[in-house]
């Protein structure tokens, strides 16, 4: 018998009716919605156990203490370390997402010669050749760390020279070097004891120096109080986030800092508000008022306010000598709460910019800020972990990134106390990556490698038996049984802290008021002393998904 259309319809009706009494529709309904909860293209975190490692942030010279949460061999979180004597548990916003930098899309993974892919061997040949042909310059961003001494040794042997690019905080200390002979790297701010700070545009609350140090001090001794124990006076043309939170703030004309410093100095001397009797600035009060944009009375009041609660120190955002001179008048140099000498054996270094002509090659370490471009026609070897784009360098050499390299952390530029720490490499660096130190080590095998240098430094610390080791609890170095124990503790996140030096012994001879110089470095941006050419993707939220910070534009593609 033939099947009619009706049969099909009826059969379909029956099947549908029957299906309702099977699990099919109901189970599918459930499973499809569960499917939307577990889309395969959405990554999920690992099941592997998490353990916490102590280390230090190497993304700027300040080396804040960090706790790194590790799972399946990769970092999954970064946090501050309370017991760190300088950073005191704080990190800059960028630090909290720094562990993502390992995976940054702009990560440099291959050697590049003039933008085309090349190899380490070719780079070696080129550099070795350069070394034989003429003087080479090695540029370092973190003077004083183990690699630095390797760089210096190499430069010495090759009749080349070792140069340093220092951040704005360090540069602000250079005038004192010229007047006292003590190297700027040996100086620091005794912030713990200061009670009045006159900041000439220094972003004190916005990533200045070791981010945690001053903000924590300010929070404990200044924030919110009508007459705080620590007076922060911000002198700045614009309403920066530091100015917004400062105790007092004077809006001056852009570039008026020099004139205002002179004006204040004149008032201090005329009204004999300080012991110093000179030198008297050439500018009259009227002139400085006119140039700074404040009234003469305002300047007088400011001067009186400043000396109202000693000890006082003026902090400049660059190497402006007038502000340094003001500190000398205020007696803030070599005194408690002022600018102090923290170490006896620090060296002074040539700035990277000085005479680079008649140089055969320039090797730039990955610690040097990306925007440093040497004014030279020499062959440039640029080490970097990330490609910041538009580089003039002939060679781009992939360096180990965050957490990937064993390095030590010398004293932070602004700190008043010597510290020493070791950031061990927690993550295996990707293949085809080499640090400048390793590179030079291959060129000249006789150089002492970084790990050896670190070991000798630990031995020196151990033999000196001075200072204390800050971990969960602090122990004097004298109590530590062996150098191995000391090194092991340092490797796992402990910090060595030296004894505070006696402030005396730092004398500045200042016969006449310094000439105003064109300031060399621009004031710090809101990134503080951040050195990597890229931001952690999550940190770009600050710029992209909130109105919290204006610029720089997101640096990621």
């Amino acid at each position: 018998m033939k099947i009619t259309r009706r049969d099909v319809l009826v059969w379909g009706a029956g099947a549908t009716a029957g299906l309702v009494f099977t699990p099919v529709p109901w189970k599918l309904l459930s499973d499809i919605s569960i499917w939307t909860q577990n889309w395969r293209w959405i990554p999920q975190p690992t099941h592997r156990p998490v353990d916490v490692k102590g280390s230090f942030c190497t993304l700027c010279p300040n080396g804040c203490g960090i706790r790194v949460r590790m799972a399946a061999g990769w970092p999954v979180g970064v946090a501050g370390v309370r017991s760190h004597p300088i950073s005191r548990g704080a990190l800059c916003p960028l630090g909290f997402a720094a562990h993502q930098l390992i995976w940054h899309p702009q990560r440099l993974r291959t050697v590049r010669h003039r933008r085309s892919t090349s190899s380490w061997d070719e780079a070696h040949v080129a550099f070795a050749k350069a070394c034989t042909e003429g003087p080479v310059v090695i540029v370092d961003g973190y003077p004083g760390h183990a690699a630095s001494s390797l760089f210096e040794a190499f430069a010495e042997k090759q009749r080349g020279s070792y140069r340093v690019v220092s951040g704005p905080e360090a540069q602000a200390l250079t005038p004192y070097e010229t007047w006292s002979g003590v190297p700027a790297t040996a100086l620091g701010y005794d912030l713990e004891n200061v009670r009045t700070i006159v900041s000439f545009g220094a972003p004190l609350l916005d990533g200045w120096g070791t981010p945690g140090q001053f903000t924590r001090l300010w929070a404990e001794r200044a924030a919110g109080a009508a007459d705080p124990d620590l007076r922060l006076i911000q002198i700045e043309p614009s309403l920066s986030r530091t100015a917004a939170r400062a105790w007092q703030r004077s809006a001056i004309h852009p570039g008026g800092e020099t004139a205002l410093a002179a004006g204040i100095a004149r008032v201090l001397l005329e009204e004999q508000l300080v012991q110093a009797r000179g030198p008297m600035p050439p500018l009259t009060l009227a002139q400085s008022a006119e140039q700074s944009g404040l009234s003469t009375d305002a300047i007088r009041d400011l001067a009186r306010l400043i000396v109202g609660r000693p000890p006082v120190v003026a902090i400049a955002s660059d190497d402006n000598p007038s502000i340094a001179a003001l500190n000398v008048l205020l007696g803030a140099v070599g005194t408690r709460g002022g600018i102090v000498q923290k170490s006896k054996h620090a060296k002074s270094h040539l700035p990277a910019e000085s005479e680079l002509d008649s140089v055969r090659a320039v090797l730039i370490d990955s610690s040097v800020p990306w925007d440093f471009v040497p004014q030279t026609d020499a062959e440039v070897f640029r080490f970097a972990a990330w490609d910041g784009g538009s580089s003039k360098a002939d060679w781009l050499l992939p360096a180990p990134g965050f957490l990937e390299e064993l390095t030590d952390i010398p004293t932070a530029p602004t700190s008043a106390i010597e510290t020493y720490a070791i950031a061990s490499s927690l993550v295996k660096a990707p293949p085809g990556v080499q640090s400048a130190a390793q590179f030079l080590g291959r060129v000249d095998p006789d150089l002492t490698p970084v790990d050896k240098i670190i070991h000798t430094r630990c031995e020196a610390l151990f033999r000196a038996r001075a200072g204390t080791l800050c971990a969960q609890e602090t122990t004097p170095v004298a109590m530590i049984p062996s150098v191995e124990k000391l090194e092991e503790q340092l490797q796992s996140g402990a910090v060595w802290m030296g004894e505070p030096q006696h402030p005396g012994g730092l004398r500045c001879k200042l016969s006449e008021w310094p000439q105003a110089t064109r300031s060399e470095c621009p004031p710090c941006n809101s990134l503080g002393t951040w050195r990597a050419p890229v931001l952690p993707p999550l940190a770009s939220k600050l710029y992209q998904e909130s109105s919290l910070r204006e610029g720089p534009e997101r640096r990621n593609p």
């Binding site: 009826v10 299906l19 499973d31 099941h47």
Partner: protein
């Protein structure tokens, strides 16, 4: 005549639907996989003399659950091949020696949004492992791992009765099953208690 024919055709439809829904569908919905290695709980228990599940499936110091022992645990006995079986060779050569983890298929794996703490349920509440995992620990079988094609869940989550009617006592690890047990023990957790 016409009417009877209709009823027959209709009934046929119903019958086929029921067959497809109850017999074919459950088979089609799940992918069946064998474990890479034939691991026998019973044998290992006897050889090692272990009596507690926790002796292999231990809690870590921070209270998190160790789960399936890592391959270096095997090293203590399987550092060299113990017998000629193919699986043995695979285990020793590919995992024990290389130190890689065996890609076990985890029957009781919950999805990412679930947070389940063995410490709380076993340590504090004192539940027996068999409450949820049945007696697989004493068995000598190597179960087949069934994975739902749509949700990617192990069959154990939904339970082996496709209709979830008359589930075995230790069968099923859906939220409903968790809730039942919580209700029986008068424990209130709230969403936050068990979800990430």
């Amino acid at each position: 005549m016409n009417a009877t024919r209709n009823t027959f055709v209709f009934g046929l439809g119903v019958a086929i639907a029921l067959l497809a829904g109850w017999v074919i569908f459950p088979r089609a919905l799940y992918v069946r996989q064998n474990q890479l290695l034939a691991f026998h709980h019973k044998t290992h228990a006897e050889k090692s003399g272990f009596t507690e599940c926790g002796q292999c499936h231990a809690l870590r110091d921070d209270g998190t659950f160790g789960g399936i022992p890592s391959s270096d645990t095997c090293t203590s006995c399987h550092s060299e091949r113990m017998g000629a079986s193919h699986d043995e060779a695979v285990l020793v050569d590919n995992y024990v020696k290389t130190g890689q983890e065996v890609p076990w298929l985890v029957y009781a794996r919950q999805p990412a949004n679930v947070w389940f703490s063995h410490a709380i349920h076993v340590q504090r509440a004192g539940l027996a492992c068999a409450e949820c995992h049945s007696t697989y620990g004493q068995s000598d079988e190597v179960r087949i791992y069934e994975q739902n094609r749509l949700s990617g869940y192990s069959r154990d989550i939904w339970g082996h009765s496709i209709s979830r009617i008359r589930l075995g006592r230790h069968d099923g690890m859906k939220m409903d099953d968790c809730e039942d047990c919580h209700r029986r023990h008068h424990v209130q957790a709230g969403c936050l208690g068990c979800h990430q």
